[in-house]
Amino acid sequence: MVRYILTRLLGLIFVLLVLSIITFWLMHGVPGGPWAYGQQLMSDQQLAALKARYGLDKPIWEQYLIWLGGVVRLDFGMSFKHPDESVTSLIGRTWPVTLHLGAMTLLVAFGVGIPLGILSAVKQNTWVDYLATLMSIFGFVTPHFVWGILFILTFALYLKWLPTGGWDGPQYWVLPVLAYAFAPIATISRYTRASVVEALRADHVRTARAKGLNERAVMSRHVLRNALIPMVTVFGPLIPDLITGSIFIEAIFRVPGLGSYWVTSTFDRDYPMIIGLVMLWAVLIAITYLITDILYVFLDPRVRFR
């Protein structure tokens, strides 16, 4: 298994290299630059001075090699938008906030989604199931920024219970977590329901019941454990998505996290930040899939590393 993990990690390095080359060329291909644009046209002299300031006067391959040389030493460069912060320290400043928000959202999403899914599977085709389905459909089809605005209107402006945004204490956490959790609750509860329903119909469950096992043992040992395998496949990738933040949630609720940088770094042409984030995302996704694959071994005795 160690060998398997090492092979996968080596493959990841190759993937990151190719990805970084593609990203580097793409982001430099977009017109515009990291400098602030005013109302008037820049002179040739000004443009040249600005390019030199950001090191953009060198050929693109040279810029890439400089960047790569830094990465080898774990130096991802200085952010253009925050010139006194390196990309790593900027991520180090903002990501904990987003992680905090994401972790709370994950807790709520799984804490609500899984029981809801199990409940509607067990109570299949009853009003409980229909209600859960209805909620899930709402969760799926309504973007989280719509929930966000709705919650602000209801809980801040109408009921006056909570502030409209900010990140200065627990009362500021409630609305963004709720708005952010709705869609994953829907995803989780639907997949949980489907997996459990399928497992409930399996022959071995009938066998377990036939041999007189009590219902709790049937559910926990035979149904849920088998239902977990398809769930892990779907739920794994939800995690990097939630812990890297959403520009909508963070912008609407004034959360000073990483989420907005996924978009603003592109608008700002903050090249070191763009490529730093792409690398971060790629590593997170790769590690999540790796962990998911390893989890299969523990959940499904038929899967073995070769």
Partner: protein
């Protein structure tokens, strides 16, 4: 058995719901320093930390906190970047040679008095003797000299603005041909500053309102890229406020500057600038988390918010509307077909019904524009020009037919570019496209570009005649109140040997007579009437040659809680409240929180 399973499910579901609620506080959220709607004034007179006694109806000092929203920018000072700055000038932590009053007229500030030599080429400024930085260091004429040397560097984004002052050796210092000491800004002694210009510059004193002085003892390096401003130990101020804390991504907190000695002592004790997206500011304002919103050409109050305000008498009372000196206009590539044909441009200018735009999609956000200079701007000729491009669809059709495109036949499909459009601008662009289709049968699609892409395309159009940026909609907002300013978008003093691509102005339109008029008017000292007469002649050329099709002048809308009081909220001589423009940058920006209402 089944029952116990049910219990397990119910318990886990409840656990989930409790997790969802675990962040909820027991008590309602406390709003920091929220001003009560009907608060009692302080028991005795309120005296702030500078010793300024606030008016009788002032709330206690701990409630003298003014909260305002902004978008977080990169730098912390004007000399680092004007277009990517956390607006220290607006929030009053910077200070300048002169400060405008609410009528936009420069008033003494650090510069207590000034004079111009007979030939108009040398300005002398006498500085306040006891002015100090917030760390106690005296502020001298050398700080101003250093400030201008910092402005004169090639990678500074506002260099072009100060180049309009005509300062001696400016271009040579910017390009590095001459050392900075050769710049025509000199300190005669610690409190006397002189500025020598290449030609008379009658509006120089107005630009001195934006001479936001830099602490030389802190910055030291003339060519610093602006990162000096990002170190907390560098936050010394000459203005009425000084930075108390900068919480990245969250807020800036300014506090009254105890060392301030100028003519503009602050009244509020703190100014808190909350970083937030424009879309959420209106809600935060309504929830009492902010004391004011709006003002800039951001989207704080989009059309939907304006509709809500106009339907709500309480909010309407808090609304301050100011017709800003800003013009949104269509421009063409007049050096390439089809817009090299004057008749085509005229056809376009008569095909757009501005009234329908400003009474429809841009209601409360704009007034119709038929000229570059907006109403109330020096040298404007709004009345005289409003018929030149009047809406006349029949005439428009005829002109397009005369130009060889009867009923739009054979006319190329156009792309109308917009620059980082907000909802209002997008609405306007769509209305324009629809009118061009209806009245001229010309097909127009709209493409929005981000700011950088747009300005790169505009630059390429002028400098390289790229020919792919034929038709676009863009605003220009004034930089200073002088007849020369907004017309400079289209030209200025030209170098007769320069190729077309290097002619002054940002657009692909050229007219020698226009340039000569601007050049002549720009150098007349002491005869504003003559100057404005020449600007009117120039603008007539601009409008008759349809260099542009003016569409609307934007209105700045702001909401300010009624308990905020101060001279800035009283109308100026034109009957307008100019708070939206100045905030803390005027002499009359002293505001405080009262127990009553405006």
């Amino acid at each position: 058995m089944r029952r116990s399973y049910k219990v397990f499910l119910v318990v886990s579901l409840m656990a989930g719901l409790m997790l969802a609620a675990c962040g909820a506080p027991a008590a309602p959220a406390s709003q920091p320093a929220a001003a009560p709607e009907a608060a009692a004034p302080a028991a005795g007179p309120v005296v702030n930390r500078l010793g300024v006694t606030l008016p009788d109806d002032a709330l206690p000092l701990d409630q003298q906190v003014f909260r305002y929203p902004a978008t977080e920018a990169t730098y912390m000072t004007w000399d680092a970047s004007v277009y990517d700055e956390n607006e220290g000038d607006v929030y009053g932590w910077a200070d300048s040679c002169v400060r405008p009053n609410k009528d936009f007229d420069p008033q003494p500030n650090i510069c207590e008095s000034w004079s111009v030599s007979e030939d108009g080429l040398v300005w002398t400024f006498n500085l306040q003797q006891d002015k100090v930085w917030s760390d106690g260091t005296p502020l001298t004429a050398n700080d101003f000299v250093f400030t201008f040397q910092r402005y004169a560097r090639p990678d500074y984004d506002f260099e072009w603005f100060y180049s309009m002052m005509g300062i001696k050796n400016w271009a040579q210092v910017v390009s590095g041909e001459l050392p900075p000491e050769e710049l025509g800004v000199k300190a005669v002694d610690d409190h006397t500053l002189t500025i020598e210009t290449d030609y008379p510059v009658p509006y120089l004193i107005r630009i001195m309102a934006d001479a936001w002085v830099v602490p030389q003892h802190i910055v030291k390096d003339r060519l610093d890229d602006g990162t000096w401003s990002l170190k907390p130990e560098n936050y010394v101020s000459a203005g009425p406020f000084v930075l108390e804390s900068y919480e990245r991504g969250r807020r800036l907190t300014f506090v009254a500057n105890e060392k301030y000695t100028g003519p503009y002592p602050p009244m509020v004790d703190k100014v808190i600038v909350e970083f937030m997206d424009p879309q959420v500011r209106f809600a935060a304002y309504k929830n009492g988390e902010l004391d004011a919103v709006g003002g800039g050409y951001t989207d704080d109050l989009p059309p939907s918010a304006m509709a809500e305000i106009m339907a709500n008498p309480d909010l309407q009372k808090e609304l301050i509307s100011w017709p800003n000196f800003i013009t949104y206009y269509l421009f063409f590539d007049t050096w390439n077909p089809p817009f090299d044909n004057l008749q085509v441009r005229q056809a376009f200018s008569h095909a757009i019904d501005r009234d329908r735009i400003v009474n429809g999609p841009l209601q409360y956000q704009a007034v119709a524009a038929y000229s570059m200079n907006p109403p109330g701007f020096p040298g404007e000729n709004v009345e005289g020009l409003k018929d030149v491009q009047a809406f006349d669809p029949e005439k428009a059709k005829q002109l397009l037919a005369d130009a060889g495109y009867p009923d739009g036949a054979g006319f190329p499909k156009l792309t109308l570019y917009t620059r980082q459009a907000n909802p209002a601008l997008t609405n306007a662009a769509e209305a324009i496209a629809a009118m061009l289709k209806t009245n001229l049968n010309v097909d127009v699609e709209i493409q929005n570009l981000d700011y950088g892409s747009y300005m790169d395309a505009l630059r390429a159009q002028k400098r390289n005649q790229s020919g792919n940026f034929l038709f676009a909609l863009v605003p220009y907002e004034f930089d200073f109140v002088d007849g020369s300013n907004m017309l400079s978008v289209w030209g200025g003093c030209e170098n007769p040997d320069a190729p077309l691509s290097q002619m002054p102005g940002r657009h692909t339109w050229y007219n020698q007579e226009y340039n000569n008029l601007l050049c002549e008017a720009g150098q007349i000292l002491g005869d504003e009437d003559r100057r404005n007469e020449l600007y009117q002649q120039a603008e007539r050329i601009l409008i008759e040659d349809v260099a542009l099709v003016p569409i609307y002048h934007g209105i700045f809308n702001a909401l300010v809680k009624p308990y905020m009081k101060g001279p800035m909220f009283e109308p100026n001589s034109a009957g307008q409240v100019t708070w939206n423009r100045f905030r803390f940058s005027s002499r009359e920006s002293q505001i405080y929180k009262s127990s009553g209402s405006r």
